[in-house]
Amino acid sequence: MKLAVFVSDYRMTVDTLERLKPEKMGIILVQNGVYHASVKEKGKTSSILDSSADLFALKEDLETRGIDPASIDSKVKVVTFGDVVDLIFNDYEKTAWL
């Protein structure tokens, strides 16, 4: 299964993301999920960035929160809404919203 997971919160109260083991996974950081790409708590980056999944962050949601897209972690690719549509239709079979 090729799965795209939307992460829309900064604080995760469930560990579902860590338990998902699809053949291919993309994590798309949107809404408050974009903080995972930029915020370091006590100097430590989010554990989501340690994932082997392909990581994306929505440009519009970064900018809305005052985060410069150029400043986020290099593991994360900045994407626009149009890019997200392309990812859903071209790269992944299923999507999940966490």
Partner: protein, 137 residues
């Protein structure tokens, strides 16, 4: 003369929900209740950003450009224009590696005089003790 002190504590990041913005709009609205009060009674309020709430204070938010949405940044500036005290927890800013350069500090361009105060959590605790009512968002 009686003064009712309200303390608004913002502890969540913005935008995913309206929660933090509501704290600010409620705080601002509290300054317009005087017409319902007896002479010389007044309501004052302070706003404090703690924990993840400090992320609301990052400057250069482009909410209007991307979503036609008033930014939390502009709400903070409006609160300063209304002469509300805005506190930001220094320890929590440090935790995220943020400095005063990264956050909204004033509303100078709108004619505001007050500035955001970056203070130790101890000072926010002191502020909370002085309040008659505390509202957490």
């Amino acid at each position: 003369m009686a003064t009712t002190k309200l303390g608004f504590i913002v502890q969540r990041p913005g935008y995913k929900s309206e929660n933090p913005k509501l704290a600010l709009t409620h705080a601002i609205a509290s300054q317009s209740v005087e017409i319902y009060l007896d002479d010389e009674d007044e309501v004052t309020c302070d706003v404090a950003f703690i924990g993840d709430g400090v992320l609301n204070c990052i400057k250069d938010q482009k909410a209007v450009e991307n979503y036609q949405l008033n930014s939390t940044e502009s709400h903070i500036k409006m609160a300063l224009l209304c002469d509300l005290n805005i506190f930001v927890c220094k320890e929590d800013l440090d935790k995220y590696g943020l400095t005063e350069n990264d956050i909204v500090l004033d509303a100078n361009e709108m004619g505001g005089d007050l500035e955001v105060k970056v203070v130790p959590y101890e000072e926010i605790t002191k502020m909370m003790e002085e309040m008659k009512h505390l509202l957490f968002f």
